[in-house]
Amino acid sequence: MPEMLSTFLATYNAVIVFVAINGVLAYSMYAVLIAGQLSLAQAAFASIAAYTSALLTIHLGWPLLAVTVAGILAGAVAAFLLGLPVLRLRGVFLAIATLGFGEMVRILVLNLEVTGGAQGLRGIPKVVGIWQAWLALAACAWFFWRLRPSRRGLGLAALRQDEIAASAMGIDVVAYRMFAFVVSGAIAGLSGVLFAHFTRFIASDQFGFSRAVDALLYAIVGGTGHWIGPALGAALLTALPEAQRALGVAAGWLRPFINGTILLLVILFLPEGLSGLATRAGWLRRRNVPVPAASTAAGDADGVTTDGATTDGATEGRPDHPNDHGGDSRVGPEPTGPPVVVLEGLVKDYGGVRAIDDVDLRIPAGELMGLIGPNGAGKTTLVNVVTGLTAASVGRVEVLGTTIGGHKAHQVAELGVSRTFQEVKLFDSMSVLENVLVGGHSVAHDTFLRRLFLVPSARRDEQADLQRARLCLQQVGLAAAAELPAGALSYGDRRRLEIARALASEPQLLVLDEPAAGMNRVEASALGDLMGEIAATGVTILLIEHNVPLVMRICTQVAVLDFGRLIAQGEPAAIARDPEVIAAYLGADDDEEVGGLERHDAETADHVEPAGEQGADLLELQGLSVSYGPVDAVRAIDLAVPAGSLVALIGANGAGKSSTLAAISGIVRPTGGRVLFGGEDITSWSSHRRVAAGIVQVPEGREILVTMTVRENLELGAWYQREDLDARIDEVVAKFPLLADRMHLSAGSLSGGEQQMLAIARALLAQPQVLLLDEPSMGLAPMLVDEVFAVIDGIRRDGTTVLLVEQNAHRALQAADHGYVMETGEMVLNGPASELLSNTRVIEAYLGESFDA
C-alpha cells in the first residue's frame, strides 16, 4: 500500500502540486467573489509575490518560510494600493481596471532588468513539494471555512447579495470590500510564491490575462457557494488534461474543445458549480450557521408571537453582552424623551423633480408614527434621507441627537436606526437565521480572528449572538423557519423576517417601509399587533403604510405627505376627518368642495354616462392568476371589457392592478387562467404579437424613452402601423398641442404632464383596439389630472375601448361605464360605475372598513 501511494505521488507529482497551487489561486479569486467583486488582478498579485520571493531567495538566500511571508505581504500591499483607487468601481468596470493593472504589471516585469526580462528568472531553488503546496491549500480552505459563519463572513455574504441592505444593517461597505480585496491579494501572493519555488523558473507571460481567467474559471466551476468550491474547481480543471492524456485524447484541438465544453455546460446547467451540485446531492452540508438549541421554551414553533416571547426578546438580549459596543447609547429610551428625528426645511430634488418640498417634522421618542400619502408623495424618499441612504438637498436632518450630513447609511445604522424596505431586500440565498445575524451586525461580536485559531471564547460570544437572533425570530413567529433559505419563504414571512432582521440590532428607531404591502386583512392585522408590541418595548417606530386603516388603528401619531409636502400631522382620528387628506386619497373634482365622502350619493345621481354603442366583450379575463415566486399578485380574477366601453379597474396600492395589465400585455406569464381577445385565446401570444393585434398599454410611470426625441418615441409607438406615418403623427399630435413644438427635443426634457401626454400619444399611434391605461394621473398636479381625463374621454368618444387602472377612484369611476374593484389580488366588487361611486365598499377597499367619515 505505501509503495503504491508513493509511486502514485511520484508519477503524478507535478499534477498533484499544481492542483494545490491552482487551488490557492482559486481561493484568491473566491475571496473577492464572495464579496461580490470581479477582479482580474489576481495573476498580477501572484506575479509580484513570485518575483519578490524568488529574488529574496536567489540574492539573499532567505528560507522558504520567510519568503512566503514576504510574498504574502507583497500581494496584500499591492492589493491595498490598487484597491484605494479602483474599489469604488463596480462590476465590469472593476474587472477591466484590474485587467489593465495586470497588463501593466506584466509589461513592467517584462522590461525590468532585475526580473530577467523576457528571459524570465531562472535558478530558483525548488523547495516546494506536495506537502508544502497542500498545506498552503489547506490553510486557505481553513481560512474560508472559519470565516463564513463569523460576523465578518456573514457581512461579506450580505454585501454580495445586496449592498444597500447591507449598509443599512451597519456594514461598512467600503472597508469590507477592501478587506476582501487585500485577503485576495495575500492569497494570490501565496500562490505566486508556491509557483516560483516549485517550477524554479518564472516569466512574465505566466501571469498574464489567461492566468487571471484560469483563476476565475477554477472558482466558478468549483462554485462560490461553499468554501470547498475553489479546491474542487482547481482539482477538476488541473487534472482534466492529465486525465485526457491518460485516456488517450490527442493533444491539439480536442483537449481545449473538451475543456471549453465542460466549462460551458457547468455555467449553463450548474449555476452553483461543483460544490453546489455536491450540496444538492447531499454529499456536502449546506454551510449555514447551525441553529442553536432552544434555551427558552419550545412553544414558538409556529403562529403569531406570544406576548412572552416579545418581552423576552427585548429584555434578555442586553445583560448577556458585557462588550456590547453600542451599550452606552443604547439604554432603553424614555417613553417621552427628546425627539428621535427632527427634520427642518427638508428638501430633496432628484434631477429637477422635487420629491420632498420643505418638510418640517419631529418624531418624539416612543411614538408609533405613521407616515401616509398617495403613491409618489415622497414617503420612501423621506425615509431614505432619515436612514442616510440619500442626502438631503436642503434642510437639516437630526437623528437620535446627531445631525446627519455626509453620513453613510452604515453610520446612521450605528446610531441605533434600523429599517425595512418597501421592496423586500432580504439576503435570499442565506438562511433565515443568518439574515437576522446580519441584522445584528452593529451589536454582534467580531469573532473571526478568535474563530480562526479556535479560541474558546469565540464560541460563547457567538452563542450569545445566536440566542439574540433566535429571540428576534421568535418575536415575529419565524423560529421554526430558521434554517430555511430566506428566498424560500412566503411573502408575508419575508416581510416578517425583514422586521426581525431590523430588530436584531436593538434599534432605538425602527423604520418600516410598507410592511403590510400585499398582505391580506388577517396577515396585516397580525402584523399590526406585532408593531404595537414592539412599540410597547419603547422603540420609536416610523411606519410608512398604504393600508390606512391599519395606520389609524395602531399609530399614536400620523403624518400625511402629498406631492412632497406635509399636508397634515396629528392624532389618527383628526387625520381621518381631514378633508385635504381625503381628497389626496380619493381625488376630488373641480366643482366639488373638498369635503366628505358621503356626498357621492347626491353627486352621482345626475352623473349618468351614456353607455355608448357597446358590443360583445372585446377583452376578457377568465380566472387569471399571476404569481411572482411566492407572491400571489393576482388570484383567479374574471373581468370583461365590452367593445367601445370604458372600464375602470380600481383598488389600493398593491392590489394587483398593474400585474393584471402586465398579464394582458404579455409582459408576465399568468400562472393560471386565460386572456381572451375578440373571443380568441391569446394567453400564449408574445407581447409584440398582442401589440400588433391592437392591445396597447400606456404603462405606469409612463416609461417614456428619455434618451430619444419626442418624434422617435412616437415612431416607436407606430412599430406595426407604419402606413401614412407622417400624416398620422400629425393627426395625433393635433390632439396634443403641447407636443407639437417639442417634436425634436429629447423626451427627457418634458415635464411630467407632457410625458404622460406623450405616452398616451405614443400608444394611440399603435392604433389600439383596446387601450390599457395604467395610473395615468399618478404624480400629476390636479389641473393636469383634468387634462389627462379629458384626453381619455376623447379617446373613448373616438370609439377606442379603454381599460383604465387608477388609484384616483373617484375620477376613474366618473369617467367609466363599468368598474371593477380589486383588493389584495382578488376581485371584490364590480358593477356599473355610477353605482360603485356611491358604494361604501369602494371606500373600504381604499381606506378600510374601520374608517368612517
Partner: protein, 291 residues
C-alpha cells in the same frame, strides 16, 4: 506625420473591433468575451474564401462578415439566451462567453491548424503613394475606407433605422420596448449578429493589414478592445471610434517616444487613468440604470 497615419490606421481597426463589443454592451448590458474568437474566425474564413475557393478579395470580406453574423447568432443562442432568466445574467454571460471562446478557438485549431497563414502576394494591390510626407499603401487606404464606411454605416443604422430605434428602445427600457410591440428577443439576436459581423470584418481587415493569421490573434486584440470601449465609454459607438483612435495613436507614439516594449504598458496605463478620472469614459453616458 507618418506616425499619425499609422496611428489612425491602427486605431480604425481597433475601433471597428471595439464597436462590436460596445454595441452588445450598450444595447443589452452584456459583455461578450467570445467577440475575439469571432475576430479570429473572421480572418480565417476570409483566408479560406480567397485562397481555397479563389473568391475575389472584396467578396471574401463580405463572406467573412456574413459568417460573423451567423456566429453572433450562435453565440447568443448558446452562451447568452439560456441564461436570460437568471438573476446573475451579466456575470454568468461573461463566463459562458469565455467558455464558448475556448470552444471556438479549439474548433479553429482543429480546422485550420496552429501555423500562421498569410495571404498570397497577389491578393491585393501593392501600390504606395506619398501624402503630406507620409508613405501610405493602397491597401491601407482601402482598409481605412472600409472601416470608416462600416463605422458610419453602423452609426446611421443605430440612429435612423427602424432596427436601430428598436435597439435604442431596448437599451433604455426593455419593458417599455416590449409594450410598444418591439420583439425584444429578435432585437437581441440582431444585435449579436451585427456586433459579430463587425468583429469578423475587423478580423479580416486586420489579417490583410498585417498579413498574418493564427488562432491566437484574438487574445491581444481582446484586451485592446476592452481598453477602447472603456476609454471611449461603455456602450457608446462614437466613443468606440474615438477610443480606437486614441489607443492607436497612443501606441504609435509610445513606440516613437519611449520604446516598443513599453507600448502596451502605456496603452493600459491610459486605460487605467481614464477609468479612475472618468469612470464613464470619454463619451460615456452616465449610468441610466440606478438603484
Amino acid at each position: 506625420m507618418q506616425q499619425v497615419v499609422n496611428g489612425v490606421f491602427l486605431g480604425a481597426i481597433y475601433g471597428l473591433f471595439a464597436m462590436g463589443y460596445t454595441l452588445v454592451f450598450g444595447v443589452l448590458d452584456l459583455l461578450n468575451l467570445a467577440h475575439s474568437a469571432v475576430f479570429m474566425l473572421g480572418a480565417f474564413v476570409g483566408w479560406e474564401l480567397v485562397v481555397a475557393l479563389g473568391w475575389p478579395l472584396w467578396l471574401a470580406v463580405v463572406g467573412a462578415i456574413a459568417a460573423g453574423a451567423l456566429l453572433g447568432i450562435l453565440i447568443e443562442r448558446f452562451a447568452f439566451a439560456p441564461l436570460r432568466q437568471r438573476p446573475d445574467t451579466h456575470f454568468a454571460g461573461l463566463i459562458s462567453s469565455i467558455a464558448l471562446a475556448i470552444v471556438l478557438g479549439a474548433i479553429a485549431l482543429g480546422l485550420f491548424g496552429p501555423n500562421t497563414r498569410r495571404f498570397p502576394p497577389d491578393t491585393f494591390p501593392e501600390g504606395r503613394f506619398e501624402f503630406a510626407g507620409a508613405s501610405i499603401s493602397v491597401l491601407q487606404v482601402v482598409i481605412l475606407v472600409v472601416c470608416l464606411v462600416l463605422m458610419l454605416g453602423l452609426q446611421w443604422l443605430v440612429r435612423s433605422s427602424r432596427l436601430g430605434k428598436a435597439m435604442r428602445a431596448v437599451a433604455e427600457d426593455p419593458r417599455a420596448a416590449r409594450l410598444m410591440g418591439v420583439n425584444v428577443s429578435g432585437v437581441t439576436m440582431a444585435t449579436f449578429a451585427l456586433s459579430s459581423a463587425l468583429g469578423a470584418a475587423a478580423g479580416v481587415l486586420f489579417a490583410l493589414a498585417f498579413n498574418s493569421i493564427q488562432t491566437e490573434m484574438g487574445l491581444a486584440i481582446e484586451l485592446k478592445g476592452l481598453a477602447v470601449i472603456v476609454v471611449g465609454g461603455m456602450g457608446s459607438i462614437r466613443g468606440a471610434m474615438l477610443g480606437g483612435l486614441v489607443l492607436g495613436l497612443t501606441e504609435v507614439f509610445a513606440i516613437v517616444w519611449i520604446s516598443s516594449s513599453w507600448r502596451d504598458a502605456v496603452a493600459f496605463g491610459l486605460l487605467f487613468l481614464i477609468l479612475l478620472v472618468r469612470p464613464n469614459g470619454l463619451l460615456g453616458r452616465g449610468s441610466v440604470r440606478e438603484v
